[in-house]
């Protein structure tokens, strides 16, 4: 069924279709309408779920951790400083390998307070052990939330679905609501390997020694480092699993097909702009304008950021003359995080494109088409004038 609705409502509808059983969230701009919608759905009996009101984001994720451990499909959502307040539990959920799904409605971090969009919030959780997916439009939001539950439960790693505050959360766009019957065929009932069972009591995540050891019944148990190694390996497996899940989604719903990265005008591109989230769509207009002038440019949108899809990135970029990474985040005193990751992926390649970095739109500063056009044109026409430092677009306005 086609509707015209906000990105937050698209996310909430995805959670409803996935039949989440426990929702615990604390309202924060710009995530608030998402959780409001979910509480309405539960209140109206349109969702068979417990909506647990909590006093903080730390508690919200703690409730989800408890619920998921007890065998319930759980969901939360947050933004910005709410995500930071959650951080301890974010890392805990990943370490416990709980298949949770969380929407991060991207917003800049305080201090100073900002309610507007950039990617600094979810970037702080880049290495927390969650799968991170950045989506570009409303259809991708609803579809990815549904896929995220299946992915999380397939590899037992929690999944963050990140989408831009306001640009996506509060704008209205048409999208298709998947049919509940087909969603039920696509998404099997909740699964977690270590679901609590009173008939088989277990200690979970107690003090774990540096080395493996026998437990009270004499079974050899993993040491801390082996648990971490396995988590890393299965993060890598998640790249393949996500593609398999997307293929099944495509078969059932007739859309999808590029879950890891997606390109626009990339086939013959000499220069490729790279971005995450709604900025990737913004760049398409700039690409069209430069193409009209005869510049062979394309844009690559990175959806799966963790685990980092090295093969897909290399395949998409290693034939280009130049790569230009636009980012709404900065690793202070260093460079844009995505820029660093892409450079590292391309370094072992025999022929390497030049690679530039633009920092853009922090704390909601408007990104104009002319900004993007000027930046991309400068990178394509005068690449030798660039050094390895990121250039900041739109300062002093």
């Amino acid at each position: 069924m086609k509707v015209i609705e906000s990105g937050n409502v698209a996310a909430a509808t995805g959670v409803r279709l996935a039949r989440a059983q426990v929702i615990a969230a604390y309202p924060i701009t710009p995530q608030t309408p998402l959780t409001e919608k979910l509480s309405e759905l539960v209140e109206a009996g349109e969702m068979d779920a417990e909506y647990i009101a909590v006093e903080s984001e730390h508690s919200a994720l703690s409730v989800c951790i408890g619920a998921a451990t007890a065998g319930a499909r759980a969901f939360t959502a947050t933004s910005a400083n709410g995500l930071l307040y959650m951080t301890e539990q974010v890392n805990w959920a990943a370490g416990a390998r709980l298949p949770l799904v969380m929407c991060v409605v991207n917003r800049g971090l305080g201090a100073p307070w900002t309610i507007w969009n950039d990617h600094q919030d979810s970037m702080t959780q880049r290495d927390a052990g969650w799968i991170q997916i950045y989506v570009n439009d409303h259809q991708e939001i609803i579809d990815t939330v549904i896929k995220a539950f299946r992915l999380a439960e397939s590899v037992s790693i929690p999944v963050m679905v990140c989408f831009d505050g306001y640009y996506l959360s509060h704008t209205y766009m048409p999208y298709d609501i998947p049919d509940q019957k087909i969603v039920d065929e696509f998404l099997p009932p909740y699964y977690y390997k270590h679901t609590l069972d009173p008939n088989k009591p277990e200690n979970l995540n107690t003090v774990t020694m540096p080395y493996g050891r026998p437990d009270a019944s004499g079974d050899f148990k993993n040491g801390y480092m082996d648990i971490r190694h396995n988590h890393h390996q299965e993060m890598r497996e998640a790249i393949r699993v996500f593609q398999e899940i997307d293929r099944d989604f495509e078969k059932k719903f007739k859309r999808g097909g590029s879950p890891i990265v997606s390109g626009y005008q990339c086939e013959d591109a000499e220069f490729v702009a790279v971005a995450m989230g709604s900025l990737s769509n913004r760049l398409k207009d700039t690409i069209d304008r430069l193409r009209e002038e005869g510049v062979k440019v394309g844009v690559l949108s990175v959806h799966l950021y963790r685990p980092f899809p090295h093969d897909a990135i290399i395949n998409a970029l290693n034939k280009a003359k130049g790569v230009v990474v636009f980012e709404k985040a900065i690793s202070y005193g260093n460079q844009g995080p995505l820029f660093g990751d892409i450079k590292a992926a391309l370094y072992p390649q025999a022929s390497r494109p030049f690679i530039h970095n633009y920092i853009i739109g922090l704390g909601g500063r408007d990104i104009t088409n002319n900004d993007l056009y000027d930046a991309l044109k400068a990178s394509c026409s005068t690449p030798d004038e660039f050094d390895d430092n990121p250039r900041w677009i739109g300062l002093n306005r």
């Binding site: 416990a96 299946r150 050891r213 009270a216 148990k221 801390y224």
Partner: protein, 104 residues
């Protein structure tokens, strides 16, 4: 539904004493029972067992005369705090060891 290639190695173990090694060495005070006050010992029937229930390390046995596994008891004192009849007192391990050394 689990991906067949994913083993999902976590820190899970049979609940019981010894999950953090022989934690008895952490102890400063140990619980000592006065069975003349202890409810199941006095009545000679299964009852109370609050010490067994509250022990965070599961090192107190559920017997008519409850026993403490001193290899793992950390000496936290929760059993002594919870005992409704005051049958458990916390005694300095050093004092007990000193006494044992004098007698031997």
């Amino acid at each position: 539904m689990n991906d067949p290639k994913c083993k999902v190695r976590t820190s899970n173990s049979t609940s019981g004493p010894g999950d953090a090694g022989k934690t008895g060495s952490w102890r400063v005070e140990r619980p000592v029972f006065d069975y003349s006050k202890c409810t199941p010992a006095k009545r000679q029937k299964e009852s109370c067992f609050l010490c067994w229930l509250y022990c965070p390390d599961a090192v107190i046995s559920k017997e008519l005369e409850p026993k403490v596994n001193l290899e793992y008891c950390k000496g936290c004192g929760i059993c002594a705090e919870e005992c409704p009849t005051g049958a458990i007192s916390m005694v300095e391990d050093a004092d007990i060891m000193e006494k044992e050394n004098k007698t031997s």
